[in-house]
Amino acid sequence: MAGIDYEQKIPNNVNLSSDVRLQRALEKWQPDFHKWWMDMGPDGWQMNDVYLRTAVSTEPGGWAQFGYVKMPDYRWGIFLSEQEKDRKIGFGDHMGMPAWQEVPGEYRNILQRIIVTQADTEPASVEQQRQLAKTAPSLLDMRNLFQVNVEEGRHLWAMVYLLQAYFGRDGREQADLLLERRSGDPDKPRILDAFNQPCPDWLTFFCFTTFADRDGKYQLAALAESGFDPLSRTCKFMLTEEAHHLSVGETGVMRVLQRAAELTKQDPNGDARAQGGIDLPTLQKYVNYWFSYCLDLFGSEISSNAADYFASGLKGRYKEQELWADHVALEGSHTFKLFKDGAFVEEQVGLRNAMNELLRVEYRKDCERVVKRWNRALEESDVSFRISLPENRFHRRQGIYAGQHFDPRGEPVSAAEFERRKYEWVPSDEDRAYVGSLMKPVYEVGKMANWIAAPNRGIDGQAVEYEYVRV
């Protein structure tokens, strides 16, 4: 592989052309990545031109170069946000010391675990979504899907760069394993449960990008605070791309809502399903399901791992510097409302052990803002239905409420009642089958499937009626 022009082939700002060790690692990994992409990336469409955005530098504007690209030719690059001079560790026991430019031996294993866990979600979501293009509701949506997919691929690159550049042989092995695990494979599942669930339809996709990718945003934000500078810089840059994925999800759900409102009004009985659309109550159930599922991704409310990560300066809080005054967090506590022996009781937990929950609190606030925007759209559509988020206790599989039963308002219910009323709250197999039955592809330029409204505007200043994928 001698004589490769690395700068051209792999856009980067990490001096790849002069880093022989990294070159050697990537030379081995890159073909494997391409093979993985062909095997596990979008099923079909790999030879079609897609109007994609590519990051070629971290300069303003450099991260968003638009043009037609065949996905396998996408230039997956390695970018870290610019280095902050004399950056100090901003929290935890090492606060005030210079940020680590190399992996501190003491934290090597947990740091590697944090990175691998984050990295594993990136290829996982590509795998989960690989069949979706076959039922794309429009070319614009198909393009958005592919944009999300290639960028998740780039995020994988970013994480693999960290593993290969900083974690030696072990890191290289972990990088290889990231391409070996498969979403939903019983033998080689992805690490986190939510990333082993299938993504069979576009409503799921929009909910997933709204809620699961938003978890990603908060995880990346917490890691952007890291005292390990390369991780911090990598995550900061990834956050700019993640924002796009969130907006694909949010606007996707919004367009489904808008269309649902229209069809509800059109139908003499106010039944959007009768008009071949997705009805608002079904949408609410998807929101309930995915929001509660994604709350689990933050980990247990009370966690000694989270305390360790904070204490050691590896993972901070959301906007650690802006939102918090005390960055040591040994004083103070967080109050949890536990449900014990049939009654709610409050329990104080030291702040450090509540770090997962503090991140979840910020996440919920963000989700509330999204729901507000959705409801504004419903208001404008002149229907009375409003979307709401279930309480954090609802339908949890992990943490302090796992194994207990609450309705979406967070009121305790018996296991029997939960079982009886479950499908008032989360999608039943029937609901899923119905949504699935609507998933028919629309490949005509500018056209939308019946169950989704057209977006307000196109991509990169182009019209909605633009050939975003050349079919």
Partner: protein
């Protein structure tokens, strides 16, 4: 900070399958499946800790002890045991850390010793009862979870990209994998010592591929092939050894009467009577009062009610009570009462029927109880006086003691029997008689050839007893010896006794007690583990440990 450390009194060391809370034991022909199913809210101190992730406490281990006992006695048809978990992705996370951190030093040490003894019993049942133990790790086995697996003959780990085996004690808790982990890694499984060094400092451990390569496990299957693969493994494991028998003997509950103040425990054959003020316990074993069973079949018919089983089980139970619930008692005076001939007759039917599965199991059980006595950290004096009957297995108990006092008086005799000829090796291999005559090995045979009772003067000549005062001095000698002993530093005595008892070379089992446990108990006392800033103290707390980095 200062975590409150609590005592954990244990009302009973017995269990029964109908009462298991934490294990599911099922049988399919020659294969038994023992699944960890730990109920997190059913720990011994549920207000202090939850047994999350299949982590265990003493309650869990007492049930395991019961399982092993019953597999040996009640299920001779079983040839292989699969140890697994009912919780997806988790085999076992080892001893519960909050439980350890909130326990007194004495409880921690006793808990670890008991768990070690149970793991050794698993290996003993493999060695002697032909049970093949297979750890079927269907999820992560960390710390004591992997140590449990190490006690098995084979270890299989699911290859799901996630599940790992690990010994994270050093990097996470600042203590040792003290349930045989370090020892079995290198001595039993022959993991290369440098690889073991890497493994023991890597908290997250090794997953299947690496674990197989390093000999940490014997093999692996991916999730989709796990059930079928393990079924084959178990079939092969069961075919290794013939079944011992088709019909077992039931293990009944022990009967014990306790005085209201807790100072007296009366079992049918054993009495434990403590004098808290003097810090002395009198532990008395009664000889059988009924004739010995005529042959192996008759022995089997008596089952666990035969003296050789019942008296030893009672003795075992009393030792556990002493260890856990009577921690201020420093000296145990061992007495034996009754007819020596009856003891020898009962011994004869057990020892004379080697090869009969039940007679063998009785011997192994007695052997285990004797080892528990060797390993009990109290000063033990056997007291042979009027009406005593230190004969055969009971003389073997006396040999396990730190000293033997024998009244020099007509009619007071001891009787060395077949029991001292090799049926009951110590933890590290040699017999107690060989240990006694380390300087003159030829004396072992000489003493064994004496078939009749031995009076005090001859016992002194043969160096079988420590002191033989006459009746004028006797009471005072005993009183002074006990008072003196009870006044010495209990820590120094524990260390001294453990060093003097195990004469000869070390083996893997002895290393677990003599090296691993001893170091662990030192570490358990050190500020780096249990001080306010110690790793064990701070585990689960927001602060990180601060070590005193000076090394010796």
């Amino acid at each position: 900070m200062g975590t409150v450390q609590r005592e954990t009194p244990i009302a009973s060391f017995e269990s029964h399958p109908s009462r298991y809370r934490h294990w599911k034991l099922s049988f399919d022909g020659a294969v038994a499946t023992l699944a960890m199913n730990i109920q997190e809210e059913n720990g011994l101190r549920p207000d202090d800790y939850l047994l999350k992730l299949n982590s265990y406490d003493m309650g869990v281990d007492m049930e395991l002890f019961d399982v092993v006992t019953r597999l040996r006695l009640e299920h001779p048809e079983v040839r292989a045991v699969a140890v697994t978990s009912t919780i997806p992705r988790i085999f076992c996370a080892g001893a519960n850390i909050l439980m350890l951190a909130s326990s007194t030093h004495g409880f921690k040490v006793n808990f670890c010793k008991f768990t070690n003894e149970t793991r050794l019993e698993i290996e003993d049942s493999s060695r002697h009862s032909g049970l093949t133990w297979v750890a079927a790790l269907n999820g992560t086995a960390s710390g004591g979870g992997y140590e449990m697996a190490l006690a098995c003959d084979e270890i299989w780990l699911i290859d799901d990209g996630n599940s790992a085996v690990s010994l994270p004690e050093v990097p996470l808790l600042g203590v040792l994998p003290g349930t045989g982990g370090l020892t079995r890694l290198v001595d039993k499984r022959k993991v290369r010592r440098d690889i073991a060094d890497v493994f023991c400092t890597k908290a997250e451990g090794f997953r299947a591929r690496e674990a197989v390569k390093s000999r940490l496990v014997d093999g692996s299957f991916p999730r989709s092939k796990w059930d079928a693969g393990m079924a084959d493994v178990m079939k092969r494991a069961a075919a290794k050894n013939p079944a011992r028998a088709t019909q077992g003997v039931p293990v009944p509950a022990l009967t014990v009467e306790r005085s209201a103040d807790g100072t007296e425990h009366r079992y049918p054959f054993v009495t434990l009577k403590v004098d808290r003020e003097a810090r002395v316990a009198h532990l008395t074993v009664k000889a059988p009062t009924t004739p010995a069973p005529a042959d192996a079949a008759a022995l089997r018919a008596e089952g666990c009610n035969t003296w050789s089983v019942q008296a030893f089980r009672e003795f075992d139970d009393a030792l556990c009570h002493l260890r856990f619930n009577l921690d201020t008692i420093g000296v145990i005076l061992l007495h034996a009462e009754g007819d020596a001939a009856n003891v020898l007759a009962h011994d004869a039917v057990v020892l004379g029927n080697k090869g009969d599965w039940f007679a063998d199991e009785v011997r192994f059980l007695q052997s285990r109880v004797l080892r528990r006595l060797d390993n009990t950290a109290r000063s033990t004096f056997a007291v042979a006086d009027e009406g005593s009957c230190f004969a055969g297995t009971l003389f073997e108990m006396a040999l396990a003691c730190d000293r033997i006092y024998m009244l020099d008086s007509k009619g007071v005799q001891i009787h060395v029997g077949e029991a001292s000829a090799g049926a009951f090796p110590m933890t590290h291999g040699p017999t107690r008689l060989a240990v006694r005559y380390a300087a003159e090995p030829s004396k072992v045979g000489e003493v064994l050839s004496i078939k009749q009772a031995i009076p005090a003067s001859q016992a002194m000549d043969l160096e079988l007893v420590t002191f033989a005062p006459d009746d004028i001095d006797w009471d005072d000698e005993i009183r002074i010896a006990v008072e003196e002993r009870a006044s010495l530093s209990p820590d120094a005595l524990t260390g001294m006794e453990q060093n003097l008892r195990f004469v000869g070379t070390e083996n893997c089992d002895l290393k677990i007690f003599g090296r691993l446990t001893a170091w662990q108990n030192w570490i358990f006392q050190r500020p780096n583990a249990v001080g306010d800033n110690g790793a064990l103290t701070l585990y689960g707390h927001p602060e990180r440990p601060k070590f005193d980095f000076r090394r010796t």
